[in-house]
Amino acid sequence: MPPALLSASSITKSFEGVSALRHVSFELHAGEVHAIVGENGAGKSTLIKIMTGAEQPDAGRLTVAGRDVPHMTPALARARGIAAIYQQPSLFPDLSVAENVALTLETGGIWRRVRWSERRRRARALLEEVGSTVDPARLAGSLSMPEQQLVEIAKAVGADAKVVIMDEPTASLMDDEVERLFAVIRLLRAQGCGVVYISHRLEEVLAMSDRITVLRDGETVATHAKETLDRPALIQAMVGRTLKETKPRTPVATGDMALELRHLSNRELGLSDVSISVRRGEVLGIAGLVGSGRTELAETVFGLVPSDGGEVLVGGVPVRIGSPLEAIQLGIGYVPEDRRRHGVMLEMSIAENTSLASLGAVSSRGLIDRAAERRLAESHVERLRIKAPSVSTDVGALSGGNQQKVALARWLSIEPGILMLDEPTQGVDVGAKAEIHALIHELAERGLAIVMISSDLPEVLSMSDRIAVMHAGTVSGVLDRSEATQDRIMALALERPAG
């Protein structure tokens, strides 16, 4: 048997002490389609980055066609015939298709003469090879998503790529476009290329691939031949870790209806017919894959992009929320995902960050009472156990977990009745995570209605009373805590829409 086209053995990589990959091995042979599947954060993206030289592994070995590559770089990867095609094609939108192709394929000095007719002829030939009829003179930016993807594949073919890595290539494609892409993949396979295929769509994975490698929590679970797997077994392999011991929530008697959404839609954000409800004292977990509309749902409820259909009821009363200010006045708090971009002001102090959404409470006649502001911040620093020298410390100087707690403090300051948390423990260390979990439980016990969006399945399972699973901009199912399992959540999250 010839050596593998691409082999990664025992790859280990961590970022800032957070382990992303541990002893992951992967092998790709000529003429095979090898799928990589796993939950969000399982390490798929990191593995691709290492195979294409975008990141350097901390330990492990990478070989291409049997030859060791101790220091992979993007240029070296390309020279050795490795091409990557991402979900979002990375063409230059203001250059023509022919120029885009030429940029990767043409060699020679920077002062060489450009032969335009040759460029166009070559681009056209490559596009034909992958079944595209796009005019090479068109600007890349004017092409549709699938057309751009075909140009990317044409580039890979033109570069004589032996290894083609496709990351979620079908995420933005329609069914017939998916079929066309599959035809191209079969063609590549027939020509002896190896294709690494990464997708959340398990049906496609099962239909297209010869072998499937499952990653979970940065480790290789197993590599299976497709014939030995079916969909339930694949889901089981993806989520089947033992639950980490987050203390399961003791259910509390839930109170009145706090927030109810009836057939809510938001065309701009791709939401349709979302119906969920959450009572006082209840934690509603929202699960789903990245891009399933979870954050968009929170943004709609919070009035950032107002809904365009359906009803929102707060405390049983129909309301119309047109801006974040109106949401705040209704007692809704929203701790967004990505705290550095949307959550905290890094140049402002803890006190100033804490009071920002409740300036009215610490002001009299429009003037901020600095002493009251400090007292407010100090009470939250103490209660949330924020580690900082004083409340005058700039938030930029705090650790990730403490910044997240400051973001939380801002919303607790408005004394909300409903608190929406988007990925509340993303990027915080284990200790802070446990503290934030305890705090969420405490808030629920005090009667807050909590909506918690999370990609972390064990977190969703241990924290929530009920779990709404989103898929493609709508709720594909709501599970009670007694009936929820990782497998059932994943099955709902991966559900393909009818038709």
């Binding site: 970022f15 800032e16 957070v18 993206s45 990191t46 980055k49 919070f302 950032l304 801006s323 974040p324 200010l325 949401a327 705040i328 929203y334 967004p336 550095r340 971009r341 949307h342 959550g343 905290v344 002001m345 890094l346 140049e347 402002m348 102090s349 100033e352 920002l356 959404a357 300036l359 009215g360 002001s363 429009g366 003037l367 901020i368 600095r370 005058s392 700039d394 930029g396 990730g400 801002r410 993303q426 990027g427």
Partner: protein, 321 residues
């Protein structure tokens, strides 16, 4: 946003050093006549700089202030010549400034055009509009009641200084102690998060442009009454002087950082350097070069801080990936 006052201390230190050098080398610098000139010429600069501080803290910039300054001065002069009381002519100039500022602000906040582009356009359009209307002619034969705001030459500095001082204190204090001031910092620091916190960031942006316009109108009047004619090319280069003073005073062009006290010191330092050169026998041509060097130093200090923050952010991004 108040992690120490290193910048204010550094600028104040530079002013003290300059004063000591001048006291030793050219004591004539401290003659009452020179100081009075320096003082009166820079009160208007300070007023515009205070407005610019708000704009820059909100994460925007306004380079049209020089053109607004010229139009407001000319309009005030024309109205006064037509017989309007100087106070009313002055108020009209402020209103006109507010109007131009609001147009800038609306284009930035509601049309979403970058402020550098909007104010570059209004800078050129207003300047050429004025040139076309006046055909380059100066406003001359101003009524006696217009000169020194109708006050005596001895009274005027006191009134102008008091007015400027009151406004300086109001804005310095307001930025720190009024909720609206906090909204300016929050908008410049992180507009997305500010919007999520329920702040109307578009209104904030619109308001800071309206304020800088109003203050520019007032500055134009305080400057115009010092002379007996109003040139239609007034205020050329004012935007650079003002932005320089604000940046030297510690405001971050990235928004979210800065304050009125720093700006006052920045205006003082830049104002003191020009005449100092003359007294030291250095060609006045060096003035702008030296001002430029000071700005570069100030921005470099800022840039080092920003790129250090940028690196930290890049790490976080990598860890999240």
């Amino acid at each position: 946003m108040r992690s120490g006052h290193t910048r204010e201390i550094a600028v104040a230190g530079a002013i003290v050093v300059l004063a000591l050098v001048m006291a030793a080398v050219a004591p004539g610098y401290f003659s009452p006549a020179n100081l009075r000139d320096l003082f009166l010429a820079n009160l208007p600069v300070l007023l515009v700089a205070i407005g610019m501080t708000l704009v820059i803290v909100a994460g925007e910039i306004d380079i049209s202030v020089g053109s607004v300054f010229a139009i407001c001065a000319v309009v005030a002069g024309v109205l006064a010549k037509a017989g309007m009381p100087v106070w009313l002519a002055g108020a009209a100039a402020c209103l006109l400034g507010a109007l131009f500022g609001s147009i800038n602000g609306a284009l930035v906040a509601y049309a979403g055009i970058p402020s550098i582009v909007v104010t570059l356009a209004t800078m050129v359009a207003l300047r050429d509009g004025l040139r076309w209307t006046t055909e380059g002619a100066w406003v001359q034969d101003l009524p006696r009641a217009f000169q020194w705001l109708g006050l005596t030459q001895a009274e005027y500095p006191f009134v102008a200084a008091s007015l400027t001082a009151v406004l300086t204190i109001v804005f310095a204090w307001g930025l720190r102690h009024v909720a609206a001031g906090r909204a300016v910092y929050a908008t410049g620091s992180n507009p997305d998060a500010a919007r999520l916190a329920g702040l109307d960031t578009a209104a904030v942006k619109c308001a800071v442009f309206a304020i800088v316009g109003t203050l520019t109108g007032l500055a134009a009047v305080l400057n115009a009454v010092r002379f007996n004619q109003i040139p239609s090319n007034a205020g050329i280069g004012l935007e650079m002087k003002v932005i320089a003073a604000v940046v030297v005073g510690g405001a971050s062009v990235a928004g979210g950082r800065g304050g009125v006290p720093g700006t006052v010191l920045g205006v003082l330092l830049l104002a003191a350097i020009g005449p100092a050169l003359t007294f030291l026998g250095i060609s006045a041509h060096w003035e702008r070069a030296i001002q430029g060097a000071i700005i570069l130093v100030a921005i470099a200090a800022d840039g080092i801080r920003i790129s250090a923050g940028g690196r930290a952010r890049a790490h976080v991004k990598a860890a999240a990936a």
